[in-house]
C-alpha cells in the first residue's frame, strides 16, 4: 500500500505509471496532462471529476483517497450521500409492489429481497466506496416456542465486499447488533466499530460503521436489515437514516405473515464465533442435498427452500449445544 500525506501525493504515485495514468484519464474523460496539473497543484478537479476519479481509482486506494480529499475539502464524503434524496422513488415502489402481487410463493422472498437490495445499494452507495446489506431472519421457534437465534440470509455488497454474500451467511445472537435491534425492536447504528461502544457488535472484515433496522409487520418481528459501510460515521446522515428505514419497510413485503413473531417470543442466545460456526456451515449445501435426496426417494419431495430451512435448523441446534457446553465449561 502506498503511503501518502495528501491526495495529490497519492494520485501522483498512482499516475507515475503511464499506463495507469492514461487509463484514469480515459475513464474520467480528461487529458493525461490534466491529471498531472492536479498533482502539481496547477489546477483543481471539479466535484464531478472527484466523483469520477473515486470510482476509477483501483479499489485499494479509494478509501484512502477519500480520507485525504476530505482532510483538505471537509464535507465531501457527506456530500456524496446528500446527492441522493431521502425519498424512495415512485417507480421503485411500484416495482416492488408489482413483484409482491405477481411472483409465485416459491420465488417471492428471493425476488423482492434482491429488488430491494439492488436498489438500496445503488442509492445508498452511488460512488461505490463500500457497502454491504444483509437480510437477517429470525429462525423458527424452538419446541419451547422461543426464537433463539437469527441467521443471515440474502446479502449483497459493493467492493471490497463481493456482489453476493450468501455463501458467507452465519448465525447471529444476542452478541450482535442485529440481535440487539431485533430484541429492542428499534433501529440502531454504530458509527465507528473500532471505538468502544455500549452496543454489542460483531465486526466483519472491512466494516467500519453499521446500522440495523428491524423488519416489522403488525408490531411483530421477522428479523432486521443490516447495513455495513467501509466509512466511519456513514449512518449519521439523516438522508441515509431515512432511506434505511424506507428500504426496511419495503423488504418486509418479502416475508410471509407467519415469519413474524411476537416480541415476547424473542429470546436470543449467544452464538459461537464465526470461526466455530464455519465448521458446521462448511457442509451446508451437502446437508441440503442429503435432505432433498432422502425426501426425493420417499416420493414426498421437499422444495429447495424447505430443505434449506431444515438444514439451518439442524445447524442451529448444533451451535446452541456448543454454546451451552462452552458456558458450562467456563
Amino acid at each position: 500500500m502506498l503511503e501518502s500525506s495528501s491526495w495529490r501525493e497519492l494520485l501522483g504515485q498512482i499516475i507515475s505509471n503511464p499506463t495507469e495514468r492514461d487509463r484514469l484519464a480515459g475513464e474520467i474523460g480528461v487529458r493525461s496532462i490534466t491529471l498531472t496539473r492536479w498533482v502539481n497543484g496547477e489546477s483543481m478537479p471539479r466535484p464531478q471529476n472527484i466523483r469520477q476519479l473515486l470510482y476509477a481509482l483501483p479499489q485499494q486506494f479509494r478509501v484512502l483517497f477519500l480520507e485525504l480529499w476530505d482532510g483538505e475539502q471537509p464535507g465531501f464524503s457527506a456530500s456524496l450521500s446528500d446527492s441522493s434524496t431521502s425519498e424512495l422513488a415512485y417507480d421503485f415502489i411500484m416495482q416492488v409492489l408489482d413483484a409482491r402481487a405477481t411472483t409465485p410463493d416459491t420465488l417471492r422472498f428471493w425476488t423482492i429481497s434482491r429488488l430491494v437490495l439492488q436498489h438500496a445499494l445503488r442509492q445508498l452507495d452511488p460512488e461505490r466506496i463500500g457497502m454491504a446489506i444483509t437480510v437477517v431472519r429470525c429462525m423458527p421457534p424452538s419446541r419451547e416456542r422461543k426464537i433463539r437465534s437469527l441467521r443471515e440470509g440474502m446479502g449483497m455488497g459493493t467492493p471490497p465486499w463481493e456482489g453476493d454474500l450468501e455463501h458467507r451467511a452465519m448465525f447471529l445472537g444476542a452478541e450482535s447488533l442485529a440481535g440487539h435491534v431485533v430484541m429492542a425492536g428499534r433501529m440502531e447504528a454504530i458509527q465507528d466499530l473500532n471505538e468502544a461502544t455500549l452496543l454489542p457488535a460483531y465486526q466483519m472484515e472491512h466494516e467500519v460503521s453499521a446500522m440495523a433496522s428491524p423488519i416489522l409487520y403488525a408490531n411483530r418481528i421477522g428479523g432486521c436489515l443490516l447495513f455495513s459501510s467501509t466509512q466511519r460515521d456513514y449512518f449519521l446522515s439523516q438522508t441515509r437514516q431515512a432511506l434505511v428505514l424506507g428500504y426496511t419497510r419495503f423488504i418486509a413485503l418479502a416475508f410471509e405473515r407467519e415469519e413474524y413473531y411476537q416480541p415476547n417470543l424473542i429470546d436470543l442466545r449467544l452464538m459461537p464465533s464465526l470461526e466455530v460456526q464455519q465448521k458446521s456451515l462448511a457442509g451446508f449445501q451437502q446437508r441440503v442435498h442429503t435432505i432433498m435426496r432422502e425426501s426425493y426417494d420417499t416420493q414426498h419431495s421437499l422444495a429447495y427452500p424447505e430443505a434449506e430451512q431444515l438444514a439451518w435448523q439442524q445447524i442451529e441446534e448444533e451451535l446452541l449445544a456448543m454454546s451451552l457446553n462452552a458456558l458450562r465449561d467456563n
Binding site: G26, E27, I28, G29, Q52, Y55, A56, S83, S84, A89, D91, F92, Q95, D98, A99, T102, T103, P104, T106, L107, W110, T111, I112, R114, L115, Q118, H119, R122, Q123, P126, R128, G163, D164, E166, H167, Q285, Q286, V288, H289, M292, R293, Y296, S301, Y304
Partner: protein, 288 residues
C-alpha cells in the same frame, strides 16, 4: 438477454416477462460478466468509443455497469419489455448516472436511430427472442446505425455440458421447444448452435476485421460459480416451463418432475458443469 412487451409488438422471449425473471437476469448478468473477464475484455482501445447501444439490454445490468465504469461514454439500452426498461432507468437515477438511458423498443423492428449513431453496438444473449430467420436483417440494422470504423459485438453461449441427467434432459426440451418456436439454429437439438454462427452473421452483414474470443465458466459443485448458477438454472428452468409446455414438446408433469430431480443433482457434491461463451466482433468498413 432481452424480454418482452411493448404494446404493438409480439413477445417472443422464452422466459416471459416477470419480476422474478428480471431479478434472475440481473444476477445472471453479473455472473456472466465476471466469467468473461469484464465488460469489454477483448477491446484494448476504448478511447474512441463514446456512444454505445446495448440491444436486448433486459434490466440494464451490462449497460449500467459500463456507464458507471466509463463516464466518458453515453450508453443507450433498448429492450422490448417496459418492465425491464423502467427498472433500468430507475437504477440509473438511483446511481446518479446521467450517461445511461433506456428505451422500450422491439429489436425486431427497424431502429429509429440515424445512420452512424453509435461507436459500438452490443448484443449479449439475444438468441432467446430472435427468430432464426430474423438474424440477417437485424445485423444489417446494427451495421446501419454504427459509424464507419465502429464495432458490432455479439456474445452468446451454449448452455452448459453437465453430468446431470435432469439438466441435460431439460436443456434438450428447451432446445426442442425453441426449434418449434423458430428460435433455434440447432440441426439435431443437442445444443443451441448459435455461437458458431456469430462470425458468419457479422461477415454477411459486411463487417470486416472479424475476431472471436471464447470464455468458459466452470459451475461444478465446490466452485465459486456453483451457488449462483444453481439459482440461475433452477429459477430459469422453472420460469421456462410455460414456454416448454405451450410448444407441445413436454408436459407440465414431466418438467416439474425433472425440475425436482435437477435440484437434487445440481446440489450433489459430484455435480460437474461447464458453460462456454463466445464473443465475436467486427468493424463497419470505413466509407470509401
Amino acid at each position: 438477454m432481452a424480454t418482452s412487451d411493448p404494446s404493438q409488438s409480439e413477445n417472443t422471449y422464452i422466459l416471459g416477462d416477470s419480476s422474478a425473471e428480471m431479478v434472475r437476469l440481473i444476477e445472471q448478468d453479473r455472473h456472466f460478466t465476471r466469467a468473461m473477464g469484464g465488460l469489454l475484455p477483448e477491446q484494448t482501445d476504448l478511447s474512441s468509443i463514446h456512444r454505445v447501444l446495448d440491444v436486448g439490454c433486459g434490466p440494464g445490468g451490462w449497460a449500467l455497469e459500463l456507464a458507471q465504469a466509463y463516464p466518458h461514454m453515453q450508453v443507450v439500452g433498448i429492450d422490448i419489455s417496459a418492465r425491464m426498461i423502467d427498472y433500468a432507468n430507475a437504477q440509473a437515477r438511483a446511481s446518479g448516472l446521467d450517461n445511461a438511458s433506456f428505451l422500450a423498443k422491439n429489436a425486431l423492428d427497424p431502429f429509429d436511430f440515424p445512420e452512424g449513431s453509435f461507436d459500438l453496438v452490443n448484443a449479449r444473449f439475444i438468441e432467446g427472442f430472435i427468430p432464426t430467420v430474423a438474424w440477417p436483417a437485424i445485423l444489417q440494422e446494427f451495421v446501419r446505425i454504427t459509424r464507419p470504423g465502429g464495432i458490432i459485438r455479439l456474445t452468446d453461449c451454449e448452455w452448459g455440458m453437465t453430468n446431470s441427467f435432469a439438466y441435460q434432459k431439460l436443456l434438450g426440451i428447451s432446445i426442442h421447444a425453441m426449434q418449434v418456436a423458430g428460435l433455434s439454429h440447432s440441426p439435431d437439438g443437442r445444443n443451441y448452435a448459435i455461437t458458431p454462427l456469430l462470425s458468419r452473421f457479422l461477415s454477411e452483414a459486411g463487417c470486416v476485421n472479424i475476431k472471436e474470443r471464447a470464455h468458459s465458466m466452470d459451475f461444478s459443485a465446490g466452485t465459486e460459480a456453483h451457488l449462483g448458477s444453481f439459482q440461475d438454472f433452477s429459477i430459469g428452468f422453472q420460469l421456462m416451463q410455460p414456454f416448454q409446455v405451450n410448444t407441445g414438446v413436454t408436459t407440465q408433469q414431466e418438467v416439474e418432475q425433472l425440475h425436482r430431480q435437477l435440484t437434487v443433482e445440481m446440489l450433489d457434491s459430484d455435480f460437474r458443469g461447464i458453460m462456454y461463451f463466445l464473443t465475436a466482433w467486427g468493424e463497419k468498413p470505413q466509407a470509401t
